[in-house]
């Protein structure tokens, strides 16, 4: 499943859109660090996806997924000073708000990229919201969601498509 959707995008388009991306555009890491608790949660394959709202989602074999905000989103917000987490047990539709973050006078909402139930929230963020800036795809994970329909991730962007999306939207 991962490989199919990953290579579905025509290679030619990918090269074209990369070549027109401005050389000066900042590089954003879009992979899960080796040390990330998101990686350590399970031993099987992890399917990594992104939303156009700059959230990432890492799906484990037990059909629960860690969700957080991408480095691009964390970077555009600046140093986070406040995080509002949802309650465990909340059920959400794709696109529903699952919390909020605030940096220097800037508020932003976090949206669930999928339908499901919140099964865990990263309480550590309450006392140290800045972790999201330092390690957005590691210690800065936001929630873990039990997916209602794991196939729903096919409608999200894989890492290559997200990279293209970032390049197209950073002129």
């Amino acid at each position: 499943m991962l490989r199919l959707s990953r290579f579905a995008a025509p290679t030619v388009n990918r090269l074209v859109s990369r070549s027109i991306a401005p050389a000066a555009s900042r590089f954003y890491s879009i992979s899960i660090p080796e040390s990330s608790p998101v990686r350590k949660y399970g031993s099987g394959d992890i399917k990594l996806r992104f939303s156009k709202d700059h959230e990432w989602l890492a799906l484990h074999e037990d059909n629960t997924a860690f969700v957080g905000i991408s480095e691009y989103a964390a970077d555009s917000l600046g140093d986070l000073v406040y995080v509002e987490l949802p309650e465990v047990g909340t059920t959400v539709e794709a696109g529903d708000s699952i919390g909020a973050v605030e940096s220097v006078k800037s508020a932003s909402d976090i949206y669930s990229p999928v339908e499901g139930e919140i099964v865990e929230v990263n309480e550590q963020l309450n006392s140290t919201p800045g972790v999201i800036n330092k390690d957005p795809m590691g210690e800065g994970w936001f929630v873990r969601i039990q997916l209602a329909n794991p196939n729903e991730i096919d409608s999200l962007l894989d890492d290559t498509a997200y990279e293209e999306f970032l390049a197209e939207n950073s002129d």
Binding site: Y82, E102, S103, V104
Partner: protein, 321 residues
Amino acid sequence: MTTASNARVFISATHDPRVNLAIENFLFRTLSKFNTSHCLFLYKNSPSVIIGRNQNPWRECNVPYLESHNIPIVRRFSGGGTVFHDHGNYNFSVMMPRQQFDRDAYIQLLVPQLNRYAGNDKLFVNERHDIVNSSNQKVSGSAFKLVHSHAYAHGTMLLRSQLASLSQSLRPSYIGSIIGRGVESVRSPVANVEWLDDHSFEDSAIQAFKAFAKIESEPLPVFQFSSFDEFFNRCGDLSLRDDYKLLTTNEWTFNQTPKFEHKIPKDNGHISVMVDKGQIVEINDQSVRKNDFPLPLPYHAEEVEKYIPTYGPIISQAMKN
């Protein structure tokens, strides 16, 4: 390159803070729908206190004073601190694509436009993204919102605001201490820009907006409206009513407050009142723990007096001062 066709300017002649903040949120939410890349919204509110998205109103302002003077408290959607609005304060809101988001970009263009009228008392942008006068008094405060692929920067502009009402409204009334997460305001000395009139401000805001959205020569249509209904009839979108409704609810204004503890001095120690979602969920006394009252109860002086015979008077007094 932006053209006049995807940049819009709205000027509100209604002064209900809930209406203006609802319209601002609506304009922001529907930028893509109306094929808008940049939007400028100018509005004034009747006397009101506007708190940041993640703030505690009891910590930021004098809730009992505001209630008794019918000055509404409104929780906005952007971050940052608490501000006082009245007819002498002009608000500007600039919406843009997220990749153009920069906290200072618009006000850096606005300040030179304003300074055309300035004489010796020039304005400056400070490191907190606010505008200050030559005496370093704040005349404009800013706050920001980023959602999906859009962002806005909005701010106040003190022209002829009642500064005595401002300071009275923003002086908290509680006794003891309020401890909790959430964003605390940074208090600054403020001043009006006496030499600037409404018309000059509007003109400056629009000129700066044209420069910001890179609109060269085309005339920019300005849509003015004087009531919620007029705007609503023009946009014809029912969801605007939801934006408005949310802003009028206690759930949003008060109960959205992050969990906090109000510590009230008593004898040689204190009573601890825990408040979650605007409700008192626990009252702890150093010496005794009593649960002979119905909890949760709204964190409101009248309710507390009515339902908590033991601690009611001391707690309500600590809320009202």
